[in-house]
Symmetry: C2
C-alpha cells in the first residue's frame, strides 16, 4: 500500500529536474531490474505486485533494498509506461570518472549531441554488445537517466561507464599519454572496411540530423566512411545503424582478424 | 480545393482493406515524393500546398500525374502524420515476380514474420543501402504499403523488389537451378565474421520476439551467428541491428575482400 506522499516522491522522478536533484531514477520491468541487480548500481526500493514479489524476493539478496507490495492500480499511478509492468524500482545514479587509459587499446564512444532517448538507449545497447567499456557524452546529449533512454537500453545502461564531457576536455585530460585516435564518419572519409587501424581510440557519433558538430570536427584525426553498395545511392543510414556497423567492424578487427 | 468526396477517397487509403482493394497507397513529404518520382512506381496524384507546387511543379515531368493545390487545413485532414507535411501523394502499388536467378550471385532477404512497420521500413532502408535487390516476405509480415512502413523506409521502398511468398514455395520455385543457400541467425550458428561464403543466397530475418519460425527452420542450410564481445553477455540485439551487421558483412565480402 502506497501513501500519497510515496506516490508523489516516485512520480517526481518522472521529471528531469527532480532526477538531477535527488540523484535517483526509475526503471521498470523484469529485465531492467534483473540487469540492475546484476550490476554495480544500487537499487533503493522496489515496488511490485504480490505475484512478482512471491516469485522474485529470494533473488534479492541485498537486504538494504526496500521491497514494497503495490496493487496494479498503484503501479499504474507511478509508472511511465503506457502499459504498466508488474514491477518498478528506484535506483541511484552513478558517477564515473573519465578513463583515458582505455583510449590506448580499446574503443570509447563519444556521442556528439544525440538527442533522441530511443537512439541513445539503442547505442548503449550496441556498446554493451560490442564490448565498448566507456561512452562519453557531449553536454547536449540526452540525459542518461531519462526513462525512455534507460528502458530502450534494455538494461545495458548498467554495464557501460557513462561520462559527460566536452570532447576538447576529454583530449586535454589525455595529457601525456600517446594521443588518442579520434574517428568520425564523414563524407570524404576512408572506407571503414579497409581501415585496419580502427582498433582503439574514440569514435565520435554525430547528431541525428546534423552529424558531427563543427566545434568537434577539428578533433577528428581519422575520417572514416561506411560506403553504400552503389555510390549513386542517395540514401543515408541513421545514427544507430551506423553505430552498429562501425562497432561490428571494430569487434571483427579486435577478435577475428 | 478538395471536395468531400476526394477527402473521403484519400482517407480511405488509411485503411489496409481499402489499400488492398484499390491497389493504391499514400506517401508524404518531399523526400518520399522525390524517391517515388525517381523510381519505377507510378504516382497518380499529388496534393500540395501552393508553395510546394510553385517550387516543384517543373520537376514533375510526367503529365499524367494529377496536381491538386490544397490548403494546410485540407492537408491536415488527409494526412496520417502527427504534423502534416506540405505534400501528400497517392501511388500505385506494384507487383514483382520472384527472381530466383538472383540467388546465385546476390543476397536476397527473407522476412519471416516481421510485424512492426518501423522495423520493416528500417530493414528496407538497409537493403537499399547494401545493394540487396529483392526482399521476400512471409505472408504474416506487415503489409508493404502500410503508411508507417513506407515512411520509415525513407523512400527505399521504391528501390527494392518486394515479393510475398512462403519460404518453402520460394525454394520450390528455384527448381532446377543450383540450390540456394539459406542463411539464418541461430544460437548454434557459425561466427559470421569467419564465414567466407556469405556472398549469395537468401538471408532469413526472424520475427522480433520469436526469431525464425519453426516451419522455416528446416530450410536453413547455413546457420550463422553474430558473436557478442563477451560470451557471457546476456544482451541481445534487435532485428534491424542484426540486419545492419549481417548486410555490412555481406557487402564487405562482395566488394572489399
Amino acid at each position: 500500500m502506497l501513501s500519497k506522499n510515496q506516490i508523489k516522491n516516485i512520480t517526481a522522478l518522472h521529471s528531469k529536474k527532480e532526477r538531477a536533484e535527488s540523484g535517483l531514477f526509475i526503471i521498470e520491468g523484469d529485465k531492467l531490474i534483473a540487469e540492475a541487480l546484476d550490476s554495480s548500481y544500487t537499487i533503493e526500493s522496489i515496488y511490485a505486485l504480490s505475484t512478482w514479489l512471491d516469485e522474485n524476493d529470494r533473488k534479492i539478496k541485498d537486504s538494504k533494498i526496500k521491497l514494497v507490495e503495490v496493487t496494479a492500480d498503484e503501479l499504474k499511478k507511478i509508472s511511465l509506461l503506457s502499459t504498466a509492468n508488474n514491477v518498478l524500482a528506484v535506483c541511484k545514479q552513478k558517477h564515473f570518472d573519465l578513463d583515458t587509459s582505455l583510449f590506448q587499446d580499446k574503443l570509447s564512444l563519444y556521442l556528439d549531441d544525440i538527442r533522441d532517448p530511443g537512439n541513445f538507449g539503442t547505442i548503449i545497447r550496441l556498446a554493451h554488445w560490442f564490448g565498448i567499456p566507456q561512452v562519453i557524452c557531449s553536454p547536449e546529449t540526452v540525459e542518461f537517466y531519462n526513462p525512455k533512454a534507460v528502458q530502450s537500453s534494455m538494461g545495458s545502461i548498467f554495464h557501460v561507464n557513462l561520462v559527460t564531457m566536452d570532447l576538447g576536455e576529454v583530449l586535454a585530460n589525455n595529457g601525456e599519454n600517446k594521443p588518442a585516435k579520434v574517428f568520425g564518419a564523414l563524407l570524404e572519409g576512408q572506407n571503414i572496411y579497409l581501415k585496419d587501424d580502427f582498433t582503439s581510440g574514440i569514435l565520435v557519433i554525430g547528431n541525428e540530423s546534423n552529424g558531427i558538430s563543427s566545434k568537434n570536427l577539428k578533433f577528428i584525426s581519422d575520417k572514416i566512411k561506411i560506403p553504400p553498395a552503389a555510390e549513386n545511392h542517395a540514401e543515408s543510414i541513421n545514427a544507430a545503424m551506423a553505430t552498429s556497423i562501425l562497432l561490428s567492424e571494430y569487434l571483427r578487427r579486435k577478435k577475428y582478424f
